[in-house]
C-alpha cells in the first residue's frame, strides 16, 4: 500500500518505518519559539540543562516575536526580553525576528526559512499554516520546543490522513476564507481531529499563496494536525527564490488508503461567516444580515496578506467607514506592510478612516490592537471566536471582503464585488 504526503515527509526525517499510529523520532529542520511561550522555552532549557549548551544547531533555531508587538504589558515585555537576550547569546543575529517583523509563520515562508517538505516546529498553534507550501509545520508547547532546541528532534505519532477534495468556482464575492469556512461548516470542530488532511480539487488549485495559507490555517479549528496542499509551480518558484534551496515535492501514491475521502462541490458557494461561540458555527452571511457591527479587524495569520488587503481595498476605495465602526488594519508582516505602502493601500485605508497598525498577530493574541468590550460586535478576518478570547464582545469570522463591507455598512452585510 502506498504512502500519503505526511507519511513521505515524515519518512524523509526519520530512520524508522512510518505507519499511522506509530510513534517515531522526527528530525526537525526548523526549531522556533515566539514571544508567547518563548520565555518558558528559555526557562525550560536553563532548568534542565544547566551549564550545557542549549542549542543543538543555532543556524536552525529561531525566535519570532508576533503576539503582542510591541509589548503593551509588563509581562510580555519581560518575556520578550528574556527570549531576546537568549537569542543574542545563543543564535545568529538574523535568527531573531523581533517585534518589528510580523507573524512568525509568514516570516518563515517569506524568508525561505520554511520550504516544502521541511519539518518546522514552534510555539504557535497555527504553525501548520506551513501546509500551504507543503511543509510540515506543527505548533507545540514550550517543553516540546525546548527539547527540540536542545536535541533537534522530537517524538511524533504518525497521523492518519484524510483527503478533502473541493471542486467548483465560488461566487464572485466569495474567496478562500469563504471556502475555508464552508469546509469548517461541513467538518465541524472535530472533523479532522488528530488527522493530517490533504486538500485537492479545482477550487484549491486556483488558490495563490495567500489563499492556501487561509485554508491551511484553519485546519487547527477542524482539530487537524495539518492541512497539506501540494505546491504548484507558482509556490515552488516562490519558495526556491526565497530560500535559494532545492527540495523534493512529494505526492501521495495512487494506491493510498485514506481514512476518509470527502468531496465538496462548492460551485457558486456564497460568502460564509462564523458566529460565536466557535469557528465551526458557520452560516451564509445572507442569513444573518442586519446585526449592528462595532468593530472590524482585517488581519491575522489567516487573512493578513497583501492579496487580502487588496480585496478589502477594492470595496473601501473612495468610501468612508461607518461612523459607529472602528476598523483596524494589521498586515501580517513587515514585507506586506511595505507592499501596502508602495501600492498606495495605506493611503486608501487612511482615507477610509481605518486604524492602521504595525505587523503582528493583531487581535487574536488579545491586545496588540485592542480588545472587545461587553456587548461589542466585532467582525474579524481572524480564525478563532471562542468566548472571551478577544475580550468580552461577540466575535464573527469572515473574509476580508465581507469584513470591509460590514465596516462601510455598520452592520453585517453580504459584500458586493
Amino acid at each position: 500500500m502506498g504512502y500519503t504526503v505526511i507519511e513521505k515527509i515524515i519518512a524523509d526525517h526519520t530512520r524508522e518505518v512510518v505507519t499511522p499510529e506509530k510513534i517515531v523520532w522526527l528530525d526537525i529542520d526548523v526549531r522556533s519559539a515566539r514571544d508567547f511561550g518563548g520565555a518558558n522555552v528559555v526557562k525550560n532549557l536553563e532548568k534542565n540543562y544547566p551549564g550545557e549548551s542549549y542549542v543543538a544547531d543555532p543556524a536552525k533555531t529561531f525566535f519570532t516575536f508576533d503576539c503582542v508587538v510591541p509589548a503593551n504589558n509588563l509581562g510580555y515585555a519581560e518575556n520578550q526580553q528574556i527570549a531576546r537576550i537568549f537569542a543574542r547569546n545563543n543564535l545568529p543575529r538574523e535568527n531573531l525576528y523581533d517585534v518589528n517583523a510580523g507573524i512568525g509563520s509568514h516570516v518563515m515562508i517569506e524568508k525561505g526559512v520554511a520550504t516544502p517538505n521541511s519539518t518546522v516546529v514552534g510555539t504557535d498553534s497555527h504553525l501548520n499554516i506551513l501546509g500551504a507550501i507543503g511543509a510540515f509545520g506543527q505548533g507545540m508547547g514550550d517543553q516540546d520546543i525546548a527539547f527540540t532546541f536542545k536535541t533537534g528532534k522530537t517524538w511524533f505519532e504518525v497521523p492518519y490522513t484524510m483527503r478533502v477534495t473541493i471542486d467548483g468556482a465560488p461566487a464572485k464575492n466569495s474567496f478562500a476564507k469563504d471556502v475555508t469556512l464552508g469546509v469548517l461548516e461541513q467538518l465541524g470542530s472535530k472533523g479532522a481531529l488528530g488527522k493530517s488532511v490533504e486538500f485537492y480539487g479545482t477550487t484549491v488549485d486556483t488558490f495563490d499563496l495567500a489563499g492556501r495559507i487561509t485554508l491551511a490555517s484553519q485546519v487547527t479549528e477542524m482539530g487537524g494536525i495539518i492541512g497539506l496542499i501540494t505546491p504548484d509551480d507558482r509556490i515552488i518558484d516562490y519558495c526556491k527564490k526565497r530560500s535559494g534551496k532545492d527540495f523534493p515535492i512529494h505526492k501521495a501514491d495512487a494506491d493510498v488508503n485514506y481514512l476518509e475521502d470527502i468531496h465538496y462541490d462548492f460551485e457558486g458557494i456564497e460568502p460564509r461567516i462564523a458566529l460565536p461561540p466557535n469557528p465551526a458555527n458557520v452560516k451564509p452571511v445572507a442569513e444573518i444580515t442586519g446585526i449592528k457591527v462595532d468593530s472590524v479587524v482585517i488581519a491575522s495569520c489567516t487573512n493578513g496578506r497583501y492579496e487580502d488587503f487588496a480585496v478589502a481595498a477594492r470595496i473601501l476605495k473612495g468610501r468612508k467607514v461607518h461612523n459607529d465602526v472602528m476598523m483596524k488594519i494589521v498586515p501580517a508582516t513587515q514585507e506586506v506592510y511595505g507592499q501596502l505602502l508602495k501600492n498606495g493601500l495605506i493611503e486608501l485605508f487612511y482615507q477610509s478612516g481605518a486604524i492602521i497598525s504595525n505587523p503582528g498577530c493583531a487581535s487574536c493574541a488579545s491586545g496588540q490592537i485592542g480588545m472587545t468590550g461587553e456587548g461589542e460586535v466585532q467582525v474579524t478576518t481572524g480564525n478563532r471566536n471562542f468566548a472571551g478570547k478577544q475580550g468580552k464582545g461577540d466575535t464573527y469570522l469572515a473574509s476580508p471582503a465581507t469584513a470591509a463591507a460590514c465596516a462601510l455598512a455598520g452592520e453585517i452585510i453580504v459584500p458586493e464585488i
Binding site: 510513534i23 498553534s125 508547547g141 514550550d142 517543553q143 505519532e157 470542530s189 472535530k190 468566548a387 472571551g388
Partner: protein, 177 residues
C-alpha cells in the same frame, strides 16, 4: 523517581448544568490568555477553568489525587503549557477524556501528566466524588460503578509511558543518551 502506573483518586467529572459532558473546552477556557505571562506553576492553579462558565470555582473544589474526567476535544486551541500545568498545580494526577486536542495531548504527556483516551466515558454513571483507580499500562479502570469498568480505554503507548515514568520529556531524553 519511580512513579506508580496505578493511580487512585477522586473523580471530578466536567459536565454542564444539564448533566451533559462539555465538549470543545479550549485552552482559553482552561487558562485564559490574559494570564499567559505567568510562568511560575504555583501561581497557575488559581486561574484554572476561570473562563469556563459554571466551573470558575474549580480551583477551590480540587483536592490532591484528583482524576479529571472530560468530554471530547478537550484542550483544543493554543499551544500554551499553562493549560496543563495549572491542573498539576492543583493536584490533578491523570486526565481521562473522550478525545483531546493534539497539541494539548503532547504537552500533557511531555510534562508527565498522563492523558487517557476513553471514547465514551461521559455516557457512564460516573459522578464527581466517586473513588476510582486507573492502570496506565493496561487502561483498566476500577470503580464501584460497573458501567465505568466495562468502558473501552486506551492505555499509554510505550514512549508515553516511558516519559511518564521518567518524570518528563527532558528526563526521558537524558535517559536515552
Amino acid at each position: 523517581m519511580k512513579k506508580s502506573t496505578s493511580l487512585s483518586g477522586k473523580a471530578i467529572v466536567i459536565k454542564d448544568t444539564q448533566g451533559k459532558g462539555i465538549d470543545d473546552i479550549d485552552t482559553d477556557m482552561i487558562f485564559h490568555n490574559k494570564h499567559l505571562h505567568i510562568t511560575d506553576i504555583n501561581e497557575m492553579g488559581q486561574h484554572t477553568f476561570g473562563n469556563l462558565p459554571g466551573w470558575e470555582e474549580f480551583p477551590s473544589i480540587v483536592t490532591e489525587n484528583t482524576i479529571l474526567i472530560v468530554g471530547k476535544n478537550f484542550g483544543a486551541g493554543s499551544s500554551r503549557q499553562q493549560a496543563v500545568d495549572c491542573f498539576k498545580a492543583l493536584g490533578v494526577i491523570v486526565i481521562i477524556g473522550e478525545s483531546f486536542g493534539a497539541i494539548y495531548k503532547r504537552n500533557a504527556i511531555n510534562s508527565g501528566m498522563p492523558l487517557i483516551l476513553a471514547p465514551d466515558i461521559m455516557t457512564t454513571t460516573l459522578n464527581s466524588g466517586d473513588q476510582m483507580t486507573i492502570d496506565l499500562t493496561t487502561g483498566g479502570i476500577t470503580s464501584e460503578k460497573e458501567d465505568v469498568q466495562s468502558k473501552q480505554v486506551t492505555p499509554l503507548s510505550k514512549v508515553q509511558l516511558d516519559i511518564y515514568k521518567a518524570g518528563n520529556l527532558f528526563e526521558y531524553g537524558k535517559s536515552l543518551e
